[in-house]
C-alpha cells in the first residue's frame, strides 16, 4: 500500500511538470511564430521577440516548484 502511495506521489509530480511544460510549449509556439514574423519585417525586434517568447516559460518553473512540493509529501 505504501508503495502505491509513493508511486501516486511520483506520478502526480510528473503530471505537474508535464502539464505545465505542454502549456508553456503551446503558448511559446504561438508567440514564437509571431515573433519570427515580426523579425522578418524588422530585425531590431530580436530582443523584444525573445522576451515575449520566453515569458510563458515561467509556467514550467511553477510546475517544477509544485512538483518539488508534491515530492516533499513523500518525504
Amino acid at each position: 500500500m505504501a508503495e502505491l502511495t509513493i508511486g501516486m506521489i511520483a506520478l502526480s509530480s510528473a503530471l505537474a511538470i508535464a502539464g505545465s511544460a505542454i502549456a508553456a510549449a503551446w503558448a511559446e509556439k504561438a508567440i514564437g511564430v509571431a515573433a519570427i514574423g515580426a523579425m522578418a519585417e524588422k530585425e531590431e525586434l530580436f530582443g523584444k521577440g525573445l522576451i515575449l517568447t520566453v515569458i510563458p516559460e515561467t509556467l514550467v518553473i511553477f510546475g517544477l516548484v509544485i512538483a518539488i512540493l508534491i515530492l516533499g509529501l513523500a518525504g
Binding site: F46, G47, K48, L50, I51, V54, I55, E57, T58, I61, F62, L64, V65, I68
Partner: protein, 617 residues
C-alpha cells in the same frame, strides 16, 4: 560607467559655397550625429552634391560586379588611386567585359537546357525502330504516343483487331510500363482512342523532335556530342569570368568602400535644411569633443559658419553612445540586442557585466565544463575577430562557471576523482532543496537590485515621492509578505497584523506610485522571484545528465576489452553534448532573467543609437 557620453546639441549654418568643404571636414571629424531635417514651409531639404548621380550609378555597377563575379569581402592591402574619373573608367570597362561574357553564358546555358529536353524525348524513342520523320501529320493515318501498363498491351492488340486490321503497334517495355506508338487508320480514330482510354493510357506529347530525321538512337549521339561541345564552351566562359573576378577583386572591394564614403558625403545635404543661398545642419556632438570640432570647422569655413551649441535638455530625444570601461564594454552587446537606455537613464551594462556571468556560472557550475568552454572561446575569439564581444562575454561566463564548479565541487559531473572527494560548499545533486532556496534568494537579491536602480532613475526624473512609492512600494510589499509568512508559520514571534500593515501600506504606495497598473502587476513580483528557480532547475538537469553519462561509461569500463573504447566514446560524446545543451540553456536563461525579470524593474530604453557622420558601419 552607468551613464552614456554627455551630448550637446549643435546647430550650424553658413553660405552654400562652403557646404562641400564643411561636409568634407565633418566626414573627417566623425563626431556629428546628424538629425535629419524634414521639409517645412520655412526650409526645404538640401540638394545632393553635383557628383551624386554619377557616384550612385557607379556604385550600383560596382556592387553588381561584386555579385556577378562572386567576390567575398575581406581584408586586402590594395592601394586604390583615389581618382574618381579613373574609377568610373575602370568600372565601365569591367562591366562591359563581364556583361558580354554573362550574356554569352546565358545564351549557351539556354541551348544546353533545350538540348537536354530533346535528349530526354529521344531517349524515350530509343528502342522504337522508326525514323522520326514518320511522326508527321497524315490525312489517312493518326498515331498515338504514350505509356500504358505492360500487361495491357496484349488486350490493346486484341481489341484493336476486332475493329480494324489497319493498325501498327510498336512498343518498348520500361519497368512494368510500356511506351507505345500506335498508328491507326483515320476512320478508326474514335474507336482506338476509346479503347486506349479504357486501358488507362497516358499520352505523351513530343515538342522538340519534330524536325529530326532518322532513328532516335542515331540522333541521340549527335545531340550528346553537341552538348559536350556547348558544355566546354560554358566552362571556358565561366573560367574567364572567374579570372576577371580574381584580377579585379581588390580593386572592386576598395572601390566599393571608397565610393560609398564619397556617396555618403554627396548625399549629406539631403539631411540638411536649405534655403536658396544657405544651409543649416542640426545634430549632436559628444560634449568632450565639441571645442576642438568647432575650432576646426571655423578654420575650414574661414569663420563664415555660425555654430550654436547647448547641453542636452530633459525633453530632447538624444542619441545615446554608451560609455563603459573596457572590461564591461563587451556587455553592451546585450543592450544593442535589446534596446539602448534613454539618455537620462542609468545604463545597465555594468550591472549586466556583474550578474550575467554569475547567473550563467550558477547554472552550468562545473569546473571541467568551464575549463573546456574557456579554452574553446579563447580560441574562437582569436579566430573570429568580428564576434569578439560575444566571445568575451562567454569567456567571463566560463570563468564564472569554473568558480561555481569549485563551490559545488564538480568536475565533469564527478564529485570524487580516484577516491578523492572534491571539497564543496553545496552539492547540487544531493542538496536539491537548499539549491532551490539559494536560487530564489539570488532572485530576490537581483530583483531588489533592479528596484534600487529603478529608485535612482525615478528620483532623477520624477522626484523622491514618486520614486519611493513606485519602487519602494515593491520592497515594502516584499517585507510585508515575508513578515506575514514568518509570523503565520510561527518562525518569528510577531503578531500577524504587523505583516498586514506593511502589506496594506505597500498597496497604497503602489497605487499612488504606479496607479492601477501597479496593483494589477502585484502577483508579478512573486512569479518574477520564483522564476529564478530555473537557476536550480537548469543546473540540476545538467548535473544529472553528466552523472548519467559517467555512470554508463563506468559500466562499460567494468566490462573490459572493446567496451572500454565504447566507454571512452560515451564520455567524450556525452560530455560534448551536455556542454552544448548546458551552454545554450544557461546563456538564454541568464539573458532572459536579465531582460524579463531584472530590466522590467527599472529599464525603459528606446533611445536612438549615436552614429557619427563618416563613421564606418
Amino acid at each position: 560607467m552607468l551613464r552614456p557620453y554627455e551630448m550637446s546639441s549643435v546647430i550650424m549654418t553658413g553660405p552654400n559655397k562652403f557646404q562641400e568643404d564643411v561636409i568634407k571636414e565633418l566626414h573627417k571629424l566623425r563626431i556629428l550625429h546628424i538629425v535629419e531635417h524634414s521639409k517645412t514651409d520655412l526650409a526645404d531639404i538640401g540638394n545632393p552634391l553635383e557628383n551624386a548621380n554619377k557616384l550612385s550609378e557607379t556604385i550600383v555597377k560596382v556592387r553588381s560586379l561584386i555579385t556577378a563575379l562572386n567576390i567575398k569581402k575581406g581584408e586586402n592591402k590594395f592601394e586604390l588611386k583615389r581618382d574618381l574619373p579613373e574609377i568610373y573608367e575602370t568600372t565601365k570597362r569591367l562591366n562591359e567585359g563581364v556583361s558580354k561574357n554573362s550574356d554569352e553564358l546565358k545564351k549557351i546555358e539556354g541551348l544546353i537546357s533545350k538540348n537536354q529536353a530533346i535528349k530526354h524525348e529521344l531517349e524515350i524513342f530509343k528502342n522504337i525502330d522508326i525514323p522520326l520523320e514518320d511522326l508527321a501529320s497524315y490525312s489517312s493515318l493518326v498515331y498515338f504516343t504514350g505509356y500504358m501498363g505492360e500487361s495491357k498491351v496484349m488486350a490493346l492488340k486484341e481489341d484493336l483487331s476486332k475493329i480494324t486490321k489497319k493498325f501498327m503497334l510498336l512498343e518498348d517495355a520500361v519497368k512494368k510500363r510500356s511506351f507505345i506508338v500506335l498508328f491507326v487508320d483515320v476512320e478508326s480514330k474514335e474507336h482506338a482512342s476509346n479503347i486506349l482510354q479504357k486501358l488507362s493510357f497516358s499520352p505523351v506529347n513530343f515538342t522538340g523532335i519534330g524536325n529530326f530525321k532518322g532513328t532516335a538512337s542515331s540522333n541521340l549521339g549527335k545531340i550528346e556530342k553537341e552538348n559536350t561541345k556547348l558544355e566546354n564552351q560554358r566552362d571556358n566562359i565561366k573560367k574567364q569570368i572567374e579570372k576577371l573576378g580574381q584580377e579585379h577583386k581588390d580593386f572592386l572591394i576598395c572601390a566599393e568602400e571608397f565610393l560609398s564614403q564619397e556617396l555618403e558625403k554627396a548625399e549629406a545635404p539631403l539631411k540638411f535644411a536649405a534655403t536658396k543661398n544657405a544651409f543649416l545642419i542640426k545634430g549632436w556632438v559628444p560634449t568632450g569633443q565639441l571645442r576642438s570640432a568647432i575650432n576646426r570647422l571655423n578654420k575650414t569655413s574661414k569663420n563664415k559658419l555660425f555654430i550654436h551649441s547647448e547641453p542636452a535638455k530633459e525633453a530632447d530625444n538624444v542619441p545615446v553612445k554608451l560609455k563603459n570601461q573596457n572590461y564591461a564594454k563587451p556587455f553592451e552587446f546585450f543592450m544593442n540586442l535589446y534596446t539602448l537606455p534613454n539618455y537620462k537613464e542609468i545604463d545597465p551594462t555594468f550591472f549586466v557585466f556583474l550578474t550575467f556571468p554569475l547567473l550563467f556560472g550558477f547554472m552550468l557550475g562545473d569546473f571541467g565544463y568551464g575549463l573546456v568552454t574557456l579554452i574553446l572561446f579563447m580560441m574562437l575569439k582569436k579566430r573570429m575577430p568580428k564576434a569578439k564581444n560575444f566571445f568575451s562575454i562567454l569567456i567571463f561566463a566560463s570563468l564564472a562557471t569554473m568558480f561555481f564548479g569549485l563551490l559545488f565541487g564538480e568536475f565533469f559531473g564527478y564529485e570524487e576523482i580516484a577516491g578523492f572527494h572534491l571539497p564543496h560548499i553545496l552539492s547540487r545533486s544531493h542538496q536539491i532543496n537548499e539549491l532551490l532556496y539559494l536560487a530564489i534568494a539570488i532572485g530576490a537579491a537581483h530583483i531588489n537590485l533592479g528596484l534600487i536602480i529603478g529608485f535612482v532613475n525615478e528620483l532623477k526624473s520624477h522626484g523622491f515621492m514618486k520614486a519611493l512609492c513606485a519602487k519602494g512600494g515593491w520592497i515594502v510589499l516584499e517585507i510585508g509578505i515575508a513578515l506575514l509568512a514568518l509570523s503565520y508559520f510561527k518562525i518569528i514571534a510577531l503578531p500577524i497584523y504587523i505583516g498586514v500593515v506593511f502589506f496594506l501600506l505597500s498597496l497604497f504606495m503602489l497605487l499612488k506610485g504606479e496607479g492601477i497598473k501597479g496593483l494589477i502587476e502585484l502577483p508579478g513580483i512573486f512569479s518574477n522571484t520564483l522564476s529564478y528557480a530555473r537557476l536550480m532547475a537548469i543546473g540540476l538537469s545538467s548535473v544529472k545528465l553528466a552523472e548519467v553519462i559517467n555512470e554508463s561509461a563506468a559500466e562499460m569500463f567494468h566490462g573490459g576489452g572493446f567496451l572500454i573504447l565504447a566507454g571512452v566514446l560515451i564520455l567524450v560524446i556525452g560530455h560534448i553534448l551536455n556542454i552544448g545543451i548546458g551552454m545554450l540553456g544557461s546563456f538564454l536563461h541568464s539573458l532572459r532573467l536579465h531582460y524579463v525579470e531584472f530590466f522590467t524593474k527599472f529599464f525603459q530604453g528606446g533611445a536612438e543609437k549615436y552614429k557619427a557622420f563618416g563613421e564606418k558601419q
